[in-house]
């Protein structure tokens, strides 16, 4: 499990699940993700990530997920 953190949020990528289809790479509005030499996805520009969660929603193999470090109180959401 690779972890890419920025502020309160982090991207978790499970390379063993990734089939390297590239759907997340094409979906990312910020160009954060790219396929590495092994054909697995990695976040090479995590600083640009806005944590919209589109990659997570569209990953067919559940390899990528967006998490919060600290849960925001439900009353604020």
């Amino acid at each position: 499990m690779n972890r890419y953190a920025q502020g309160n949020f982090f991207l978790a990528i499970e390379p063993r699940r990734c089939k390297g289809c590239g759907v997340c790479v094409q979906s990312c509005p910020q160009g954060v993700l790219a396929l590495n030499g092994e054909g697995k996805v990695e976040a090479h520009e995590i600083a640009r990530c806005v944590f919209c969660g589109l990659c997570e929603r569209r990953c067919p193999d559940f390899a990528i997920s967006v998490h919060k470090e600290r849960a925001i109180q439900p009353s604020l959401v």
Binding site: G7, R17, K19, F51, G53, P60, F62
Partner: protein
Amino acid sequence: MPNTKELARHEEVQKRFTGAHALCAGCGIPICVRTILNAIEEPVVAINATGCLEVATTRYPTTAWNIPWIHVAFENAAAVASGVETAYRALRRRGKVSQEIRFVAFGGDGGTYDIGLQALSGALERGHRFLYVCYDNEAYMNTGNQRSGATPFAAQTSTAPVGERSFGKSQRRKDLTEIVAAHHVPYVAQASISDWYDLAVKVRKAVSVDGPAFLNVLSTCPRGWGHPSDQSIKIARLGVETCYWPLYEIIEGRWQLNYIPEERLPITEWLRPQRRFAHLFEPGKEALLAQIQRQVDADWEKLLRRCEDLPPAPFPKREWEFSSPVGERQREIWR
């Protein structure tokens, strides 16, 4: 009640369908299934027809499903769903079950358009409360890309090959969404994997109606359609933008468009990236292309006339406008 965005992030619903299944890279089916299961709040029972989804997610002794799941045969997903739903109602009447449970049947286009149509029609007519989802990848992809009732005109498949005397499938696809709408069911909709929010909202509408509901979801197939696996979402989007696959819903018999493209793209934009249509771009095939464009235009005009008594429903906001930490931080600051 959580909104659709919050629900999709909910831990419990996230684990209903898991990865490490054997579906191809870039397949549209898991995107469709996870969006649908994540959009339902209540406990879910899944019923599966034979197809890519069933074969690739339940290889013995493993499974990708964390919810009650049943598969019987190719043709009877809707019949099984009606049996399960009836058993649930009987148990509920006797007080043995107190939960609200939702039933979702998944079938491919082969198991819905062709083989399972009779069972689906019966279940819709009997009025069982369940949601039938057809993931439409436009051929029998599981067994090697044979033509089905959903295969579009002029598409190349293994049983409708391209050669000197043939140009792929020579018949038009049937319009299953209209066939289902003719059963007078409370909710029928057409969606695409490219617009997850639109799909999630439609699922929430579908499970909230008291009666049968039907969703026809365009699901891309990189192997069968012959496009790079990373283009799956883009090609599904092109199907929507060219009005080949319009997004609309039929609520209690009222037709409503969800999305009208500002500028309609020509159908060649949808055909060109796919290898199954590559023969249409050879010289001398302009007449076929014009014929496909005329078919799409006629279908779109018909749909517009059907929906004209109602203004178009506002299209849900684009996906990247949701779930951004910026918005959450702003809300925090405003408090």
